[in-house]
């Protein structure tokens, strides 16, 4: 029987009276990209540690590729995992290439992979420089290269774009896309939600140790019934008539600022608003419909 890449059933992790992870169920299929989001302290990193078998669960069953993460057989699965912990500080006294070679040998990966990997993450020029002299972004790139050693089947990336400049972020997502195309299962946490919303298959929103919502960005938006924003550029002399026309629909907020008009509209009444606006089409210079962002969805669930 084919296993899911990750199966978490009823996972609980208590530290004294604190429930860091509380009855979490999660199934991630092979090749899927899951975004795990939540406030600081929501339990994301603890869930990562549970899934990697780094800490024992107080209760529940956690399996990767069908293998229990705390069992002796999990050692073999670890060779196919890549992990980038949050804010990792690698060894200052080693250079970039030596750092990768050290982790490669622990993972049983050929050292010949190291130099091409450094090049892939944009550190080819700094391979012989001590990590001590690396910037935060360079350390993050090195950490990511380490996670990619051995072309892992599963990637666990905890805040991977922390400290990266815009070019670094773009490069990171390009590599992630390449991994995804190869069928790598990826779990990623990020605080920059706009970054990941286009790049994941599903999102899990965590709050106080629980998964509050799980689904595609579109389905979560749908579920939340979050309103749309119509953003218009309208000549000021038409504002009054426009306001009256929209007021008849009684659809909520209308904000006017100079030439700009913003209309807050429930998703299921989008067409009514559009119909009302067509009557003003010659006085509307521009029209833009803004979908609720992942931030809006996130705040709706985790707020």
């Amino acid at each position: 029987m084919a296993h899911s890449a990750i199966e978490v059933r009823g996972a609980v992790k208590r530290y004294g009276p604190i429930e860091a992870v509380n009855d979490v169920d999660l199934r991630v299929e092979t090749g899927e990209v899951l975004g795990l989001i939540g406030h600081n302290g929501a339990g994301k990193s603890t869930l990562f540690k549970l899934m990697l078998g780094l800490v024992p669960a107080t209760a529940g069953d956690i399996r990767i590729e069908g293998t229990p993460v705390r069992g002796a057989k999990f050692r073999e699965v670890r060779q196919r995992l890549g992990y980038l912990p949050e804010n990792v500080v690698l060894y200052d006294n080693l250079n970039g290439l030596e750092t990768l070679a050290f982790f490669a040998s622990l993972k049983g990966v050929s050292r010949s992979e190291c130099a091409p990997l450094l090049e892939r993450v944009g550190l080819a020029h700094a391979g012989d420089r001590r990590v001590r002299a690396y910037s935060k972004g360079m350390r993050q790139r090195l950490g990511f290269a380490q996670a990619l050693l051995g072309n892992p089947k599963l990637l666990f990336l905890d805040e991977p774009t922390n400290g990266l400049d815009p070019e670094g972020i773009r490069q990171f997502y390009r590599i992630l896309q390449e991994q995804r195309a190869q069928g790598t299962t990826i779990i990623i946490t990020s605080h920059i939600l706009s970054e990941i919303q286009e790049r994941v298959d599903r999102i899990a929103i965590m709050k106080t140790g629980r998964i509050q919502a799980l689904g595609t960005v579109a389905s979560l938006r749908e579920e939340m019934q979050l309103p749309l924003w119509f953003e218009l550029r309208v000549a000021p002399e038409a504002h009054e008539a426009l306001r009256n026309a929209l007021a008849q629909l009684s659809i909520g907020e209308i904000e006017i600022d100079g030439h700009h008009v913003a209309v807050h509209c429930p998703r299921d009444r989008k067409m009514e608003v559009l119909n009302a606006l067509t009557r003003f089409d010659h006085r509307i210079d521009d029209l833009h419909i803004r979908e609720p962002s992942l931030e809006d969805v996130f705040l709706g669930y985790a707020g």
């Binding site: 073999e76 670890r78 912990p85 500080v89 690698l90 060894y91 006294n93 982790f103 622990l106 049983g108």
Partner: protein, 271 residues
């Protein structure tokens, strides 16, 4: 248990200590101290210069008891807690290796660095001291170096245990210093104090066994007992039964001092 990850971790720890010149610095400290002690050790008696090997070893034993535990504790106190604070411990543990393998790798690598310094440092000093001594002197000096390495490993094992139990580096260093004070300075005083206060009535029977509960005492007895010239000087034969003083027994006790803290550390680390 797999030996490859142990070897990889041990090699890294050892290379780190070679690269940051730790091994070189400690080797020089051992060599210089050993020569100075050997040369000036009898200054109190109004003479300087190299004396017989037995007397020299007796002086060096006192030096080693202060110096080696301190250096071993400094070397190992952040082995695990340092990785934890750096955030690299989780990364290491996500690799295909067990916690026991991680501890053993670190312990063996650090032990190799300490053993290297001890053997070269005291070896260089010894080579200068015992050029004209008979083979028996060489044997005694070899035993002294070997037991010094074992003493270092016992304290390194305690240091690794501290580094597993301590929640942060600051507290780990405090615990390491407290262990040094306890075993090197306080323990014997307490033991003697107890004997004196009770007039030797309480604990006299247990006294030799209580000495075995301190690795520095085991080390002292191991070395002093094998030196004919100084054995009576220390009065050890009067309090320490000879069946306990056999090098094999004392060696086994020393090995127990290496294994027990590591075992405790592994138990805690697994939790």
């Amino acid at each position: 248990m797999h030996f490859k990850p142990i070897a990889i971790l041990a090699r890294k720890e050892f290379h780190d200590r070679i690269r940051n010149r730790w091994v070189l610095a400690v080797t020089l400290i051992f060599a210089v101290f050993a020569l100075v002690i050997a040369y000036f050790g009898a200054a109190q008696q109004g003479a300087v210069g190299f004396r017989g090997i037995d007397v020299t070893i007796a002086s060096l034993v006192s030096l080693v008891i202060y110096l080696v535990p301190l250096i071993a504790l400094i070397l190992g106190f952040d082995a695990v807690v340092g990785e934890r604070e750096r955030g690299s411990l989780d990364l290491l543990l996500s690799m295909p290796l067990t916690r026991l393998e991680l501890l053993l790798g670190k312990f063996i690598g650090l032990s190799a660095a300490l053993a290297c310094s001890t053997v070269i440092g005291f070896g260089v000093a010894g080579a200068m001291l015992i050029q004209s001594e008979p083979a028996a002197a060489l044997f005694h000096y070899g035993g002294f170096m070997l037991s010094s390495v074992l003493l270092g490993m016992a304290f390194l094992s305690l240091a690794v245990m501290v580094s597993v139990f301590a929640p942060d580096r600051g507290r780990a260093s405090g615990m390491a210093i407290a262990l040094w004070f306890f075993f090197v300075l306080v323990y014997d005083l307490l033991l003697l104090g107890g004997l004196v206060v009770t007039g030797g009535q309480v604990g006299a029977q247990a006294f030799p066994y209580l000495l075995l509960l301190n690795p520095t005492d085991v080390y002292r007895i191991l070395n002093i007992f094998s030196l004919e010239d100084v054995r009576t000087l220390y009065g050890l034969t009067t309090v320490f039964p000879s069946h306990l003083a056999h090098p094999a027994v004392l060696g086994a006790v020393m090995i127990a001092w290496i294994v027990a803290p590591l075992a405790l550390a592994t138990w805690r680390f697994r939790k």
